[in-house]
Amino acid sequence: MTMESLAYERPATLAETLELLGRPGYTLLGGGTTLVDLMRLGVARPAGLVDARSVPELGGVVSSPDEWSLGGAVTMAEVLRHQTVCRELPALAESLALAASTQIRNMATLAGNLMQAPRCVFFRDVRTPCHRRDGGGACSALATDIAPRALLVDDDPCVAPALGDLGTAAVALDASVETVANGGTERMSVEELLRVPGPIPGNRLITRLVVPRRSGFSAFVKRRDRRSFAFGSASCAAWAAVEDGVVREVRVVVGAQSTRPRRLVAVEREVLGRALTTRTIESAARHALAGQDFRHGTDVEGEWHTATVRQALECVRERSRA
């Protein structure tokens, strides 16, 4: 920590929260597991922290017949303790359980997880140029082959991978967020929310993560170099609605090997309308790179990505047969 003065506010209402967030340099504080870290590193220098964890609209796990509504300030650990959510939404539960450590899951919030800052070593190091942090200029990660970088990219020069596992699972589950600003409440899909990295335009605040309750099977898989407390080198979430043994609807989303949770439409197309057999999965996974910008990846990395997609689909298949 340095000597800069810092305001800390703990509003009780949504209106108060929005008012505080309108002040220059004020930032929303969830569990602080990334923000405080970035403040120590000098990457984030907020003038004030708005700790909205006591705001009622941001709390609680509630259900209707059609959807689960999870408060933006609900912690990862709280969701994992919710047995019905975990049973109905295995991909969501797995994305939370495989992330970070117990200590971090006890603090980190769902909204904070969705909006989490890049973990790229260059983003976190103010001594090096970073396109994302500096709002332009060179990407340091592209200039070296030893920094982790996304394999599937868009036109954006930033190649930081999407390591927040929850976002990947949420896109596969067709989840949305409810956001609020002075203009009122809006709903947008998580896929749309995370399409462009960075904060939500219009200074909007995520109040709820809304996940449809639809009959189907889901899974989230993650590859990492140790069994706890590690970001993925590849991850994939898949959801499929199966009727009479045939896939009627499917969503296949990759995360850690991509700059954003990315649907693999070509893979989905191969699965749709077919029985989820090993052969279907095998041939569908071969389309894991179809239509993707893979210019920064190697053959080995491509195989790793493909195998991760196959693994997630295999997992969905097992669950659909159970």
Partner: protein, 719 residues
């Protein structure tokens, strides 16, 4: 795993109680509220010449007392002597001794302020201007910049046939640089009272540091006291004197006030040291009866522009096996990096990875069992080859038995877990570490009228169990319980002790304590009053030279060699055998170590629980070296990337396999207390056992650490 952890609080020694209750005082716990706080300013660009340090903005921060650069220290701090030049410093290069910047991450200024927050704020405002020069941080493929520092060529004796059927392997290996990452980061406090300086910080060598600081500051050695009562892990990182310690001490003098410094974990490797990278070439050849005919090994090791830090791992490794012809070479490659240092088994770990991998390749080529290949080539020091103190043959046979090695099918990819479908592989490798004689160690033992015993010496316990071993030995001599023995360590004012290094300091401390305790026991037989009995003890290792005695007294490094003169045995080694089971899941993209068996010959056992803990820690660590540890060094900028614990992965508890450790425990009459030492042994060979097991599981040979599962599984052929 560990079965006898449960002890009652009654069994806690004073040290145990202090550590478990948080009462133990570490370097950063000392000091008062009005201490000044220092924060280092480092240069993160490429090396070059420092044109300017602009401290204007930093000095304007309220509470800032000084921004100290090379100019300020020109008179206050003199030269320090590098270890290998007979001194105590980790590098001959004084970072604030000139305008030269030799590596990225070098110290260029020290900000001192009334609070840590002010110092940190100001440090971020110091503007550094360096004229860069071309630089290279990693070992190039080309060898034209190498400097040969060790060479030993043994030609085959005449009359020995080199013809006939033979099998040869030639392979190249690479090991990654590593961080020590001891739990306690570097933190210190320096205070002058009159002309006397006291430095509190975690150290493996308080006596040497006190002398080194005194020399650099131009004061008498008795004017400097270094205190390191508890050490929160070291692994070699605290073996040598780091320059920032001297500058903080000088700052405290200049400013007339105690100064504290806390070093962030992410910059420990550039203020201190790291384990250097290696590139190695190994060639092995056996004849028809699996007898080793030829061993060629060339180690290329990364070093800094300032210093040559030799690994010297080859001469000991080459004693493990009998071989009629050998060519051993070690070269250093100057790189634009901080001076590398010692990290657990500095020479032995990388060399054993390459040698034990090559032996596995050779066994595979010959269709021989890897254990059998080693048994056929045991060194003449092994009882299996006619007598001697190195029981490697026993370790191999006992390890194979405990592990169930006999059931191992020779061809790779022939075992699967029936339930999970994972590919299983069994690999093994040999561990070795020289049984150095250790250094001169002195000790004072006192016993009060109630029978409470205090053992005092300057030695260190960075988690190795020295405290427990010393307490147990004193208790045995004085016929009391070990919990009645207080062991006071880590103070250069206490009786002389050597650096905690080389797997030798526990037994020399025990020897000195036993010597003093025996004197106390004799005195107690004739004691008539209730006075406290006090005696001093001393251990001088056999083979310690006159020069060594002088060096030890002057705070220089002095260690008796691993050879024992006049016994006909060239070297003494602690040895062991690792057996490892890995499971490779190509479908899930996962490689994990499931089971490790380690069987070791370390001579006599001084403290069984501390010993097992030390060996287990080494085995786990070596498996982590194989699978994940990598101090990623950006070849362009020369910067370590991701040097915090979030990015530098060591094994998590969830990765730790089922462990089984067995120790021979046979006393070695050639070593004090019968012990050959075990501190560094466990990590040696453990990595090779893992990669050899990966080969057995998949048929894929890993020659470059750490393992990349994606590459292994791709080479295996996917699912």
């Amino acid at each position: 795993m560990t079965k006898d952890v449960a002890t009652t609080t009654r069994d806690w020694s004073t040290t145990t109680r202090a550590k478990l209750t948080g009462a133990a005082v570490f370097g950063s716990d000392v000091g008062g509220g009005d201490d000044l706080h220092a924060v280092p300013v480092l240069h993160w660009g490429p090396p070059g010449t420092l044109r300017d340090v602009d401290a204007t903005a930093a000095l304007a921060v309220p509470g800032v007392r000084a921004v100290l650069t090379a100019e300020h220290f020109a008179d206050a701090v003199g030269a320090g002597t590098f270890l290998y030049d007979g001194g105590q410093f980790h590098s001959s290069f004084a970072p604030l001794g000139s305008r030269e910047v030799r590596f990225s991450g070098q110290l260029v200024a020290l900000v001192v302020a009334a609070s840590p927050e002010a110092a940190r704020s100001a440090a971020a405002l110091v503007d550094i201007d360096v004229a860069p020069r071309p630089s290279r941080a990693t070992i190039p493929v080309s060898t034209h910049e190498d400097a040969l520092i060790f060479e030993r060529v043994v030609d085959p004796p005449s009359g020995v046939s080199t013809s006939g059927q033979s099998t040869r392997v030639t392979s190249a290996y690479e090991t990654a640089p590593h961080f020590h990452h001891a739990l306690e980061p570097y933190a210190m406090r320096a205070e002058w009272v009159g002309e006397r300086l006291t430095v509190h910080h975690g150290s493996q060598w308080v006596v040497g540091e006190a002398h080194g600081i005194a020399q650099a500051l131009g004061v008498a050695p008795e004017c400097v006291r270094v205190v390191s009562a508890h050490v929160g892990g070291a692994f070699g990182s605290r073996a040598l004197l780091m320059w920032h310690v001297v500058y903080v001490a000088a700052a405290a003098k200049m400013l007339g006030h105690p100064v504290r410094l806390h070093v962030d974990r992410s910059v420990m490797a550039t203020l201190g040291s790291f384990r250097p990278a290696t590139r190695q070439d190994v060639e092995l050849e056996v004849g028809a009866n699996l007898e080793l005919r030829r061993y060629r090994h060339h180690v290329r090791v990364q070093t800094s522009r300032s210093d040559v830090v030799p690994l010297r791992g080859l001469e000991y490794a080459s004693e493990l096996y009998a071989c009629s012809s050998s060519e051993l070479r070690e070269s250093v490659v100057r790189c634009d990096v901080p001076t590398p240092g010692f990290m657990r088994a500095p020479g032995e770990y990388p060399v054993a990875f390459a040698l034990e991998s090559a032996l596995d390749e050779l066994a595979h080529e010959c269709g021989a069992d890897p254990v059998e290949l080693r048994l056929r080539n045991l060194s003449p020091c092994d009882p299996g080859r006619g007598g001697g103190p190195v029981h490697l043959g026993w370790c191999l046979e006992r390890g194979a038995e405990l592990f169930g090695w006999a059931g191992r099918p020779a061809p790779p990819s022939s075992m699967r877990d029936q339930e999970t479908g994972e590919l299983l592989g069994w690999g093994m490798a040999v561990a070795h570490y020289p049984a150095y004689g250790g250094g001169v160690t002195e000790c004072q033992v006192s016993m009060d009228r109630r029978g409470r015993v205090t053992v005092e010496l300057a030695a260190h316990d960075p988690g190795t169990g020295l405290t427990a071993a010393v307490a147990a030995a004193a208790a045995r001599e004085l016929e009391c319980s070990a919990v009645e023995v207080d062991v006071v360590l880590g103070d250069s004012d206490l009786p002389l002790s050597p650096m905690a290094a080389g797997s030798a300091s526990t037994r020399t401390a025990v020897a000195a304590a036993v010597d003093a305790a025996r004197k106390v026991r004799r005195m107690s037989a004739s004691r008539s009053d209730g006075s406290t009995l006090v005696a001093t003890g001393r251990h001088v290792p056999p083979g310690m030279t006159e020069a060594g005695l002088r060096d030890a007294a002057a705070g220089r490094f002095a260690q008796a060699s691993a050879a024992v003169a006049g016994e006909g045995s060239p070297l003494r080694l602690s040895v062991g055998a690792h057996f490892v089971e890995v499971a490779v899941d190509p479908g899930r993209g996962r490689i994990r170590v499931r089971r490790m068996v380690g069987v070791f010959d370390v001579g006599a056992v001084l403290e069984p629980r501390a010993l097992r803990s030390q060996l287990e820690g080494g085995m786990i660590w070596g498996a982590g070296h194989a699978l994940m540890e990598d101090a990623a060094l950006d070849p362009r900028s020369g910067r370590f990337l991701g040097s915090g614990l979030a990015d530098y992965h060591m094994m998590a508890q969830a990765d730790v396999p089922l462990l089984e450790v067995e120790v021979l425990g046979e006393t070695d009459p050639g070593r004090v207390c019968g012990s050959k030492g075990a501190g560094e042994l466990g990590v040696v060979g453990s990595s090779a056992a893992v990669t050899n097991a990966i080969h057995h599981a998949t048929g894929v040979r890993v020659r470059h650490l750490p393992v990349r599962p994606a590459a292994v599984i791709a080479a295996y052929g996917g699912v």
